[in-house]
């Protein structure tokens, strides 16, 4: 999974998949990989949420 993916992007992609499926825009050939991608997105978000972050980094402001 791309490390840069935000929760918003993941959810949006997931919802995009839902819409495509419901509009029957997904070919049977792509069905398994599409579902797998959806699953991956969900898992990615869950794991990201569960991930432990020690503390919040202070950012050096350029001013």
């Amino acid at each position: 999974m791309e490390r840069q993916l935000t929760y918003e992007e993941a959810l949006s992609e997931l919802q995009g998949i839902v819409k495509k499926l419901e509009n029957k825009e997904v070919k049977i050939d792509e069905l398994a990989s599409t579902v797998a991608r959806a699953n991956q997105l969900v898992e990615y978000c869950q794991s990201k949420l569960q991930q432990t972050e020690a503390e919040i980094q202070k950012i050096v402001k350029k001013g």
């Binding site: 839902v18 069905l31 599409t34 969900v42 949420l49 919040i56 950012i59």
Partner: protein, 458 residues
């Protein structure tokens, strides 16, 4: 100039001013409004600097004093509010007497305070702050920020001593939905003279963290307590933050300006905490719902696709059977046509044979008939005709001969008086000899005359 000028001592003048002031203002008291500019306390006495202004320009300024006994009385009457009211910057409604002291000059002695006026003033000021922020385009800056879907990294600004602060932390860490928050705490005073400065500093500090949001909390308090969050400086600081700010100032009725400027406001710190973890919960359930819908839809797509094939085999069977049936009937039709064609050919030939035989017989009969009825009778007839003709010709010939005999018969001429002359049985026309002296025989009907030729005349 003249040396005989009438003059008074300063004491005389001051005494006269005091006398006039006392006569005019005396022991009478007045309700006066003014802004508390400065406050000093000394020996239980409050020394105030009051001012008044029109359009930002000072129009009056005067010292005022609340004597210790009065302070104690007001503290007893107003309680905590007394301290809140006597914050520099507040506009106050005082009951005062005018006091003139020969040495210290003119001042006011405050006898009483009406907090209701100040609250109205607070509201007025609040309105002005809002208007200013609006003017400066700061009021909606936070609102225009995108609140992250998940706010897991939080910078908390507030006073750790307050119950609201503790409630917030407890709610975040002890709920059943999501507790994996990372919190950077930035403690600050939320009341007193230094509150504004400290809060602003704390907010700026909080803005330095790579967090998802800043939470500003204050666990409730009186109207005057919360008035600090109406402060323009604090609000401007909030508006200029990079991170979205959530407020949980903890009041139930009125909102403070900080709430208006903040991205999102909640009534209590607990409500902010709930908002944060419920948001995660919602996100999770959205994810799950999305995945469920995807799975359901995918399986349904598969099911309908699979169903398509249960019929496909039926169609295939149906169609190929149709084709085979067509071809079979085509073969039957051809066979039939062959039979019909063959029968026609045979029938035609039979008819042809019958006709040929009939034609033969008819033609033969015709031949016979012609010969019998025309040719042979014709021949016969011709023969009879020719024969008759032959006989007729002979008849004519005979007739001709008969006539000739009749014509040539000399005996007939003799009968009508003619005679025939000859010499020596030769007809005169045929005779070639000497005529003179010859005997001429002349035959008549009755007799023959004999004479001698004597003379020939030609």
């Amino acid at each position: 100039m003249s040396t005989t000028k009438k003059s008074y001592t300063l004491t005389q003048l001051v005494a006269s001013i005091k006398k006039v002031l006392n006569r005019t203002y005396g022991e009478q008291s007045y309700w006066v409004t003014g802004e508390l500019v400065k406050l000093n306390m000394k020996g239980g006495h409050y020394y105030l600097e009051l001012a008044d202004s029109v359009n930002g320009i000072n129009t009056a300024q005067m010292k005022a004093t609340i004597w210790r006994t009065q302070v104690l009385a007001l503290q007893q009457n107003l309680g905590e509010e007394f301290r809140q009211l006597l914050q520099p910057g507040n506009r106050l409604l005082f009951r005062v007497t005018v006091t003139f002291h020969e040495i210290y000059g003119l001042s006011l002695t405050i006898l009483d305070l009406d907090p209701a006026f100040t609250y109205g003033e607070i509201e007025l000021k609040k309105k002005q702050t809002i208007e200013r922020l609006q003017r400066e385009g700061l009021l909606n800056v936070q609102k225009q920020m995108r609140l992250p879907l998940i706010m897991k990294k939080i910078v908390l600004v507030g006073s750790p001593d307050t119950s609201g602060y503790r409630d917030f932390l407890t709610e975040l860490k002890q709920n059943r939905i999501f507790t994996n928050f990372v919190i950077q705490e930035i403690p600050t005073t939320v009341q007193g003279d230094k509150a504004v400065t400290e809060i602003c500093a704390a907010l700026l500090e909080a803005d330095n963290y790579a967090a998802d949001a800043i939470v500003l909390i204050r666990g409730g308090g009186s109207k005057m307590d919360l008035n600090v969050f109406n402060d323009y400086e604090i609000c401007r600081t909030i508006a200029q933050l990079h991170l979205p700010l959530l407020t949980g100032i903890g009041h139930e009725t009125d909102e403070v300006v900080a709430d208006l400027v903040a991205h999102t406001k909640h009534i209590t710190p607990t409500a902010v905490a709930k908002f944060l973890y419920i948001r995660v919960g919602t996100f999770r359930s959205d994810l799950q719902t999305g995945l469920d819908r995807i799975l359901t839809q995918a399986l349904s797509s598969l099911a309908s696709a699979t169903e398509q094939f249960t019929n496909t085999n039926k169609f295939l069977t149906h169609y190929f059977q149709n084709i085979i049936t067509d071809y079979r009937s085509d073969l039957q039709a051809k066979l039939h046509r062959i039979e019909v064609g063959t029968n026609e050919i045979l029938a035609e030939q039979r008819a042809l044979l019958d006709l040929s035989l009939e034609k033969s017989v008819v033609a033969a009969g015709h031949c016979l008939h012609i010969v019998q009825t025309i040719e042979l009778p014709a021949i016969l007839e011709k023969m009879v005709l020719r024969s008759t003709n032959l006989i007729e010709i002979q008849r004519l010939e005979l007739l001709n001969l008969q006539e000739k005999v009749a014509v040539l018969n000399p005996l007939k001429l003799l009968k009508v008086g003619y005679t025939i002359s000859s010499i020596a049985n030769t007809d005169l026309s045929q005779y070639k000899g000497e005529f003179i002296g010859q005997e001429l025989q002349t035959l008549t009907d009755q007799f023959t005359v004999y004479s001698t030729i004597t003379k020939i005349q030609k």
